[in-house]
Structures are given as structure tokens and as C-alpha cells.
């Protein structure tokens, strides 16, 4: 029985999500916790996940930070470079809704609005917390897999 390309892609994709980490003006907390996922205590690579060095290799964008004026166009560009199907994880209170920085003058719009401006159908998963614990991030990735399976 021959698998269709689509089914084949889905089978391969959900077994090895590759993640590109974008810092859109975060304070480092979420970033060190994302890095923590790689290390022996959490070891996310046992699920086939890998942090990669280029968005062109990635299936998932892990976005942290508030989305400042400077980073907003760059986040859009990184998103457009990511091949479909793509999922965005908005990690931390800042990425979810700018957190305590909402009123600051150097903000662009929050991460989700920034991305929806270039792709109205963007799939965004929110991981709240300041910073979210690594366990919460693993749970979010599991949800991303479930979503990709059902899509």
C-alpha cells in the first residue's frame, strides 16, 4: 500500500519536530529555560526534537519576548522563511501578550498579531508563565504534535 505524500510527511514530521528559537526582545529567562530543554534533566532530544540553527530547517518556531520595534519585521521574515506546515510556540507572558511591557514605548504589536499580519492562518500555541517551567514547554510541544497529527 503506497502512502500519499501528505500522509508520509505527517508521519515523518510528528516524529521529529525541529525547533528554531527566535528571541523577539526577551529578558533571557525564557531563553535559558528553552536551552535547558536540551540538557540531561529534560532532554527533549529523546522525543526526536532538535534545536536547529536556521528557520529553513525548522517545523516549529519557539518565539520568546515582547516583539520590539526592531525585532518585529525580523520575526515576520523568520516566519516566512520557515517551511509549511509550521507551528509557532509563543513562550512566556511577553510573547503571549507583552506582559508588563505593554505600555513601553518601544513595543511593536504582540507576537501573534505581528505574525498574523503576514499570515492570517498562523497556528500559534501560547505557553504562559514568567518564565514557563521546562515541563510546561514540553507539554506545549506535545500539544503541537497532536495538532499536526489532526491537521
Amino acid at each position: 500500500m503506497a502512502l500519499t505524500t501528505k500522509a508520509w510527511t505527517k508521519w515523518a514530521l510528528t516524529r521529529s519536530l525541529w525547533v528554531y528559537h527566535v528571541n523577539a526582545g526577551a529578558c533571557n529567562n525564557c531563553d535559558i529555560e528553552v536551552l535547558d530543554l536540551l540538557t540531561p534533566r529534560y532532554d527533549i532530544e529523546r522525543f526526536g526534537m532538535l534545536l536547529v540553527g536556521s528557520p529553513r530547517h525548522a517545523d516549529v518556531l519557539a518565539v520568546t519576548g515582547v516583539c520590539t520595534r526592531q525585532t518585529a519585521p525580523r520575526v515576520q521574515e523568520v516566519y516566512l522563511q520557515t517551511p509549511r506546515p509550521r507551528v509557532v510556540l509563543a513562550i512566556g507572558s511577553c510573547a503571549c501578550g507583552q506582559g508588563i511591557f505593554t505600555e513601553a514605548y518601544h513595543m511593536a504589536r504582540p507576537v501573534d498579531e505581528t505574525l498574523r499580519a503576514v499570515d492570517p492562518d498562523a497556528t500559534i500555541l501560547y505557553v504562559p508563565g514568567c518564565p514557563p517551567k521546562p515541563e510546561a514547554m514540553i507539554a506545549a510541544v506535545v500539544k503541537a504534535i497532536e495538532y499536526l497529527k489532526s491537521a
Binding site: R69, P73, Q76, E77, E103, Y105, H106, M107, A117, V118
Partner: protein, 179 residues
């Protein structure tokens, strides 16, 4: 100035006093001379000379500088840390309206290079003779002449509009052209 003259002069005591004495008559007003902290106002004409004297002192380094929006202009505060005495001496220079300019000390003290650029970005203080006054802190889309740390700038109401969407950054555009 006259107010300062009528007030009792702050006695120059201890190590901070010695540091301020070394600056001589470049100091026009001593506001505070404590055990570990000194606050003084210096002659705007002699900013560079004072910076050179300070840097030449043993153990002194420029910790940072702060700019403040005050009534008469912009107050520039150079914070000098002196180790191992653990002293912080703050030297104030007023950049008066309308020019809002003082002499840059970046030529004499490399550590002042970035912080003067930052003060120019955020408060619009001008530094005469700065070697490299490009924008450092604010985004390139931020309009010229809008200074967010001025007191008349409201961070919510006066936020400049964002540039239009779907403008890929330069790098991306170049990359596509090259392909």
C-alpha cells in the same frame, strides 16, 4: 549660582573630598561629600579636562552616565567609580537650552562612547566632537527628534506609529535578489 553662593559650603572631607579638590576650580558647586558618595557640578567649559583628570586617577573608571530632563535643559551626570576605595563620584554638567550641547568626553574616555550615543538617542542631548554619533538604541524606524525619556513624552500617547507591515528586512530582500 547665587543661591549656591549664599548657602553654606559643603566641607571637602575624606577621600571624596580629596578627589574633588584635585579637580580644583573646575568644580563650581559641591552638593554632597559623603564617606563613599560625592555629588558635584562642574564647569561645562572644562568637561574634557575634568574627564582626563579623573581617568588619570589611580583606580578610577567611568561607571556610566545618566541624562535627566530638567527645567533649564538636560543634566548630564558622569558617574565615576574609584576602586578600591569603593567611591562613586557623580559630576554633573548642564546642557542648556536651546542648544542642549556639552563637549563629548568620548575622545578622552572610550567608555563614554556608547553612553553618550545612548543619551543622544533617548534625550536628545548633543555631544560636541563625538567621534561616531550614529543611532545606538532606538529602532531605525523611530522618527528623528522624538526623545522618549523627555518629560513631555508620554509612553502610550506619543508612541510613534509602526512602519507598514510586510516590509521584509534588508537582509532578506538582498538574499532574494541574489538568488
Amino acid at each position: 549660582m547665587t543661591v549656591a553662593e549664599t548657602e553654606t559650603r559643603v566641607p571637602l572631607e575624606g577621600f571624596v573630598g580629596e578627589v574633588l579638590k584635585e579637580l580644583g576650580d573646575a568644580v563650581i558647586e559641591v552638593e554632597c561629600c559623603g564617606a563613599r558618595r560625592g555629588w558635584a557640578r562642574i564647569d561645562p567649559e572644562r568637561t574634557v579636562e575634568v574627564a582626563e583628570t579623573m581617568l588619570a586617577m589611580a583606580g578610577a573608571r567611568l561607571a556610566t552616565a545618566t541624562a535627566l530632563d530638567v527645567r533649564d535643559g538636560i543634566d548630564v551626570l558622569y558617574h565615576w567609580a574609584i576602586e578600591p576605595q569603593g567611591v562613586v563620584v557623580t559630576l554633573k554638567v548642564l546642557a542648556e537650552r536651546p542648544a542642549l550641547a556639552v563637549d563629548s568626553i568620548a575622545g578622552a574616555v572610550p567608555a563614554a562612547n556608547w553612553i553618550e550615543r545612548e543619551m543622544h538617542d533617548l534625550l536628545g542631548a548633543n555631544f560636541r566632537g563625538h567621534p561616531d554619533m550614529r543611532r545606538l538604541i532606538l529602532d531605525d524606524s523611530w522618527p528623528e527628534g522624538v526623545y522618549p525619556l523627555r518629560k513631555d513624552f508620554d509612553q502610550v500617547r506619543d508612541r510613534p506609529p509602526l512602519p507598514p507591515d510586510q516590509t521584509p528586512p534588508d537582509v532578506g530582500r538582498r538574499e532574494r535578489n541574489a538568488r
